[in-house]
Amino acid sequence: MTITASLALNFGMLVFLTAVALALARWRHLFPVAMLTGLFSLLSASLFTVLSAPDVALTEAAVGAGITTVLFLATFGLTRAREKPVEPSRRLIGLAVTVITGAILIYASLDMPHFGSPDTPVQQHPLRDKYLVDSQHEIHIPNTVTAVLGSYRGYDTLGEVAVVFTAGMGALMLLGRGRRGRRGRKRTKE
């Protein structure tokens, strides 16, 4: 019952996602596109919820629905909000890359373990027990995701924080005030 519902929901979400993705690709005016990306995030967050990944869904919700839209719009404040037409040859390349990637992914999916099946390699690897069972008495916190991210793979998370930090510093460097006044020229504002 629950499985059927979640499968139906899965399917429905995927159809929605595809529709939104197509619209994203088709629309030339970037303004509705920015809004649609927000919608896309909402949909994928729902999908993550259906897939029982609340942490990912929460992230997607917070970042995708909130910040991303705002940042997109802020960017439009700096640039034009209408996509420049791309020459056909480049679109063809893009199409080819997309089609090939899709084809390989489909090819790859032919031998994938069945969704939700208990005998997938991931389910059978000792990691699973370690993370799902042992963590409870090794780390003593109920949220396994936090345990894995913070402790077992804490080093990765440190890296991710560094990624965020890098992005921030990069944006600050490129767009922060005073970019113009280089080589001795004093910046005019503040």
């Binding site: 019952m1 629950t2 519902a5 929901l9 429905g12 929605f16 529709a19 939104v20 619209a23 303004f31 509705p32 920015a34 809004m35 649609l36 927000g38 919608l39 909402l42 949909l43 967050a45 729902s46 919820t49 259906v50 029982s52 609340p54 869904a57 929460l58 919700a61 917070a62 629905a65 909130g66 839209t69 705002v70 719009l73 802020a74 439009f76 404040g77």
Partner: protein
């Protein structure tokens, strides 16, 4: 069962809204649609939380409820000023 039924109802609504969003015709229709879509997502997640018995998922719904608002505000502001950082005209208090 009742959660599933509710879910189905909301899903149908989402479909209808999505069609409206894709059709437009004005930007405001789309904003309206997306805003509604956000609310519906909150409902979906809340229902899912009860359906799966994982009530901690409600945190998600709460997050949505909070954050969905910002997107709409940002869009509206951008539409009006073409800029997000603008403090606005403080004197103008014509509304309400």
């Amino acid at each position: 069962m009742m959660y599933a039924a509710g879910l189905a109802g909301v899903a149908v609504t989402m479909l209808l809204i999505l069609i409206r969003v894709l059709l437009g015709p004005t930007v405001y229709d789309r904003i309206l649609g997306i805003n509604l879509f956000g609310t519906k997502t909150v409902l979906v997640i809340a229902l899912l939380a009860f359906l799966g018995g994982r009530t901690d998922y409600l945190d998600l719904a709460l997050t949505y409820a909070l954050i969905n608002f910002i997107g709409t505000v940002a869009v509206l502001k951008f539409m009006q000023y073409g800029d997000l950082g603008w403090a606005g005209d403080v004197e103008d208090d014509s509304d309400v």
